[in-house]
Amino acid sequence: MTSYIIRRLISMIPVLIGITLITFILINVVPGDPVVNMMGKRVDAQTIANIRHQLGLDRPLYIQYLDFLLKAARGNLGRSFYNHQDVMKTILQRFPATVKLSLSSMVVAIFIGLTVGIISSVKQYTFFDHSTMIIALMGISAPVFWVAIILQLIFGLKLKWFPISGYSGIECMVLPAIALGTRFAATIARMTRSSMLEVIRQDFIRTARAKGLSERVVIYKHALKNAMIPVITIIGLQVGGLLTGSILTETVFGIPGLGRLSIEAINNRDFPVIQGTVLFTALVFVFTNLIVDISYSFLDPRIRYDGGEG
């Protein structure tokens, strides 16, 4: 297992270099000069040239990229063109809000998704199965900002049960978690149902029932555990996506997370922040994938990573 993890960590390096290189090329190719954007109309060409020089934007592109890469390797992502804040510090300040939102929405998603998925599979083709799968389809299709506004109107404005927006306590996370979580709950429910249906029909489940185990033990101990591999994969991918920020949910509920930081940086052409958030996002994704892969071996004893496998 250790050698597998080391191999995976080493294989991350070219991935990260590739991602930063593509980002660097993209931000330099798309229209929109960061200095022009910062300066407005009243500044003359000479001043713009001076500022480009001070920011190092007049150097050849490959020098700019290598400079970024070497500094990033030492943990220095530079400073924002706009507020001059250290990019690494900014990202680390925003990350807790994103983690809070991601985990709370995943709790909602996993709780609803697994429960609905299991019951639907056990009660296949019943009214419950059909109705929950239709609701799940609606959940996948409903835009998150729409769900968010409806939740704000009902539970925030009318019933006053939860804060409408903000980031000052766990109660602030309830509506954002539901808004974001229900979308993923629908995906998890559908995946759990189909995976469970496949497992339930296998021989070892028939054996378990034949030897007189209760239906509860059969479903939760034998079927569910074996049906979890694809579900965990889906959850892992979603957690990876969530940990990089949920722009719409963060904007509607006023949560100071990575999603808002990234979109503001893109709009402002704040190159150091764009590069920093992309690199951080890539790291989150590769680490999440690694954790998901490792978790397979805990769920399925047949999966082992030592001995050159993987």
Binding site: P31, M38, V43, Y82, L103, S165, K221, G254, P256, L261
Partner: protein, 542 residues
């Protein structure tokens, strides 16, 4: 790991992370007594909101609305507007400056015992430092224009000098400023938030961090700034106006979503709010909320730009046809709910030289068609409108698109991200678009020079050039006789707008705020930076 264990781990992680993140939250309603007299006006916390996190608080480096808004709370300027009017009065100055007969030299005297919020004294040296910092290339400032009329400013900007030749410190309280040539609105420039005075020592010590935690001499100071979440301001105990401000603390939440912000107001979590366009019809027709609405007339003009580098727009008849094809009254009524007036010139109400007798361009699509035919376009033409992504502007452009279609002009709307759009506009490449100007100062020069002078029109993608208009604007900005200046600006406006149709004035919009009934004596900054006068404002409910 079983499913139960997996869920348990996720739940535990959630609780730990949630508890860890709960430390920085606001404690609404707390108030601090900082030694001010106990009376009915003092005390309390104002719950305010900003539509975005300020990109920084260094007013020399950016002119975003949020930064200017906060600047009036954190810093002071040499002069300021009197209440909600456009009249100037001394702020840091003991009296209004005296000016030499040739209009070149100004003598200033600061109030005695001025202090920054950290307790250090504010002297003439701080004022000199502030002016010079703005002009030094390494500051990367964008608001040099306010100090550019001073002698030697250009040399500093070009890196040829490290000291401002036209600034002479006489003693700790007095200084003299000499201009390169007479410039009538100079004193107005000193009231703009970007002319706020910085403490020399603290600014240099803070370096790059200054923009995140500046120190000023305004009525408040920063207590906490959690980016994209909230900014808390507390009363500056060293503020030079004793017993002011009345309100102890201002809690500014950063809420980007307009609907969310409005719901927070409705729930009583925000005390004052600039009403978003989309929410105005609902709030103004609600019997309770309509009573809380306050009107403000800021200084602004919305206009249509036709790039004279584009073939069609080189013919004045085409430009005039477009001006007559746009039904401004209809846009104002249907899209702005009558929140404003139709513009008949570049200068709007509140600006000296505003001419309410200007004829305007009547809505006359038949005449517009005739003009197009005369210009050689009887069947119209195709043109692209470029705009930065913005729902409000898009709706207005769609309405104008439909009106232009009536006269045969097929205008496509191309929405771009703001950075790309700004670059195209500044490079003079945008063919036709909806523009606006919110005045920095209530002086006609601020509009006329910045929009219609040929040195400025390329950056607007207007690309208009008329030597007569340039000459009038240049003469008017150096004249010290206001009546003479007004005549010149009105003549320049007549030529540029009515003879040449360089731009099409559309409307001057009004702003509407909604204010909780317990917030008293609200006054707005006259230029439209959205800032309230916190010196007069107080809370009935603490």
């Amino acid at each position: 790991m079983s499913a139960k264990k997996f869920l348990a781990v996720v739940l535990i992680m959630l609780v730990v992370v949630s508890l860890a993140g709960c430390g920085g939250g606001q404690k609404a309603g707390q108030s601090q007594n900082q030694g001010q007299p106990a009376d009915t006006k003092h005390g309390g916390t104002l719950q305010d909101a900003l539509g975005g996190d300020p990109p920084g608080l260094d007013v020399q480096q950016n002119s975003m609305l949020e930064t200017y808004y906060l600047a009036r709370l954190l810093f002071s300027t040499l002069v300021r507007y009197k209440g909600g009017t456009t009249d100037l009065e001394p702020e840091l100055l003991a009296e209004m400056p005296s000016v030499s007969s040739d209009g070149l030299t100004y003598h200033f005297k600061l109030k005695s015992d001025l202090k920054f919020s950290d307790g250090t004294p504010l002297t003439s040296k701080d004022v000199k430092f502030t002016f010079e910092r703005m002009l030094k290339p390494e500051t990367k400032a964008i608001n040099q224009w306010v100090f550019e009329p001073i002698k030697g400013a250009k040399d500093m900007e070009d890196g040829k000098s490290t000291e401002l030749a036209g600034f002479k410190v006489l003693n700790d309280q007095e200084f003299e400023i000499t201009l390169e040539s007479p410039y009538a609105p100079f004193i107005q420039n000193l009231a703009v938030p970007c002319a706020s005075i910085y403490p020399a020592e603290a600014t240099q010590k803070a370096g790059e961090e200054w923009t995140l935690n500046p120190i000023g001499s305004g009525p408040y100071k920063i207590a906490e700034w959690v980016h994209d979440d909230h900014i808390t301001l507390e009363r500056n105990a060293n503020y030079f106006e004793k017993d002011l401000p009345y309100i102890d603390k201002i809690q500014m939440r950063i809420i980007e979503d307009e609907a969310t912000m409005t719901m927070e107001f409705e729930n009583g979590n925000i005390d004052i709010l600039s009403i978003p366009d989309s929410e105005y019809p609902r709030l103004s027709s609600d019997p309770n909320f309509s009573k809380m609405i306050v009107e403000n007339t800021p200084l602004n003009t919305y206009f249509y730009v036709m790039n004279e580098n584009v073939k069609f727009f080189q013919d004045v008849r085409v430009r005039k046809a477009i001006a007559m094809a746009i039904d401004k009254d209809k846009i104002l009524k249907e899209l702005l709910n009558n929140r404003g007036i139709v513009a008949k010139g570049l200068l709007g109400p509140g600006i000296p030289g505003y001419n309410e007798n200007n004829p305007g361009f009547p809505y006359d699509p038949e005449q517009a068609k005739k003009l197009l035919a005369e210009a050689g376009y009887p069947n119209g033409f195709e043109v692209e409108n470029w705009q930065a992504k913005n729902e409000t502007f898009y709706k207005r452009n769609v309405a104008i698109q439909a009106m232009l279609k009536q006269v045969g002009i097929d205008m496509k709307i191309n929405q771009m991200d703001s950075a790309s759009w700004r670059q195209s506009r500044n490079n003079g490449k945008v063919p036709i678009y909806l523009a606006n100007w919110w005045a920095d100062i209530p002086d006609p020069d601020n509009y006329m020079y910045n929009i219609l002078h040929s040195s400025q029109t390329p950056q607007w993608s207007i690309n208009y050039k008329n030597p007569k208009v340039d000459e009038l604007i240049e003469k008017a900005r150096v004249s010290t006789d206001m009546n003479e200046r007004i005549k010149m600006y009105q003549e320049a406006e007549k030529i540029a707008i009515y003879d040449d149709v360089s731009i099409i004035p559309l409307f001057h919009i009004k702003e509407y705020y909604i204010v909780q009934p317990y917030v008293k004596d609200v006054q707005f900054h006259p230029t439209g930076i959205g800032s309230y006068n916190y010196r007069t404002m107080w809370l009935e409910k603490k």
